[in-house]
Assembly symmetry: C3
Homo-oligomer: 162 residues x 3
């Protein structure tokens, strides 16, 4: 039995606290991939807060969805992205530095706390990756997202492997 890295252990704790099971592969449907890596940079496709077949937080933040629920949605998106990166890079220690995250928030017309939603994503990255998790980000209020997801997060990461 292998001992999880400290990054993986931190992620496992977060997943346990969220109360969702992410067992099994994360599947995608179309002619695209979850992670594309070349020349020490990996791109991660936009993740919505899906667990298994269910999008667990749907609707418009500031109307149907509270700030707290949206923050939880952002955490699920980031957990998915980290799990995908771990699969692709042979573990989370393959991440050299988180370079960019984009946090898209399906917003009510007067909801202006997109940064507070994104803070939940940023905090999670700091918890799991420490200094390597220091990233730039853009927080954007959008009109809709696939499958009525409340939040979508994508990433660009620098990697140790070529």
């Amino acid at each position: 039995m292998s001992i999880p890295s400290s990054r993986q252990a931190a992620l496992d704790s977060i997943i346990q606290a969220l109360g969702y099971s992410f067992d099994g592969n994360i599947l995608i449907g179309g002619n695209y991939v979850s992670v594309a890596q070349e020349n020490h940079v990996a791109y991660v496709s936009g993740q919505i807060p899906r667990v298994g077949d269910t999008v667990v937080v749907t609707g418009r933040v500031g109307a149907d969805v509270t700030l707290a629920q949206a923050r939880r949605a952002a955490q699920v998106c980031v957990v998915r992205a980290l799990l995908l990166l771990g699969q692709s890079l042979n573990g989370l220690d393959g991440i050299s530095r988180m370079l960019r995250i984009n946090v898209f928030v399906q917003s009510a017309p007067d909801f202006t706390q997109q940064s507070e939603v994104a803070d939940a994503a940023s905090d999670l990255l700091h918890t799991v990756l420490g200094k390597a998790g220091q990233h730039t980000r853009s927080s954007i209020g959008v009109y809709q997202l696939p499958k009525n997801a409340a939040v979508e997060v994508d990433m660009v990461v620098s990697t140790h492997a070529p």
Copy 2:
């Protein structure tokens, strides 16, 4: 007379099926460029479904624009991006790997099939580029786009040339 590469031949077939002519240079108006390349990475500016001087699919997807029309719009955006990359990289064989596409869809408030719009872009890339077309993507429902375009697509590509 030069023989087109298999990638260019695939793109030519798609253009013929779309029924538009993309002859002549694709012009842009401002102090920016269509493709910026450095260190084996090329960025492509956001493309709207313009043919010559006309944006061929305008309006809000799910209201004024059907899913089928939006998918066609996404295809025109990708065709434009590939033509621009071909001009810049001395042919489509200059593409090493499609890393990321962002698909922005001008959406009706309850339109949640942004992924199905983006699938048309992903499928086209797979047809033209094969394995090199395997990309990550984010699909986003936005409120408006330049010139009332229904769809906008941008790209990041790794290149063989430095």
Copy 3:
């Protein structure tokens, strides 16, 4: 007393014309950074038109905010991004090439001049950086932005330093 580079001098002139003071550090609040640089590429977090503690242009462009005001907002965003890059890269001469800007415009439903807003950002980059300022861009009309900002701009830049 050091002589400012020609790029810095151009930026200083623009700041003076805008009539805002950007003295002091530009602070951010969360577990993220303004600039992340690795392998000759720097990412800049999305900038809103904030001066000190105040977002100087708020609201929906095409309704509460005119095109001229939105263009001014885009200029403030780019000034902030350039100041942050200058701090991080030991001066603006550390910029090798502007690769990408994303210009997000909080839009009225029928406002379709996002490109004209972005032109103000592109022109400013050309004025300050000349040929190195030639970038790709995506202009997107979004539903909301953090703190009700009218415009948000982020960047990817290639750098001389590793």
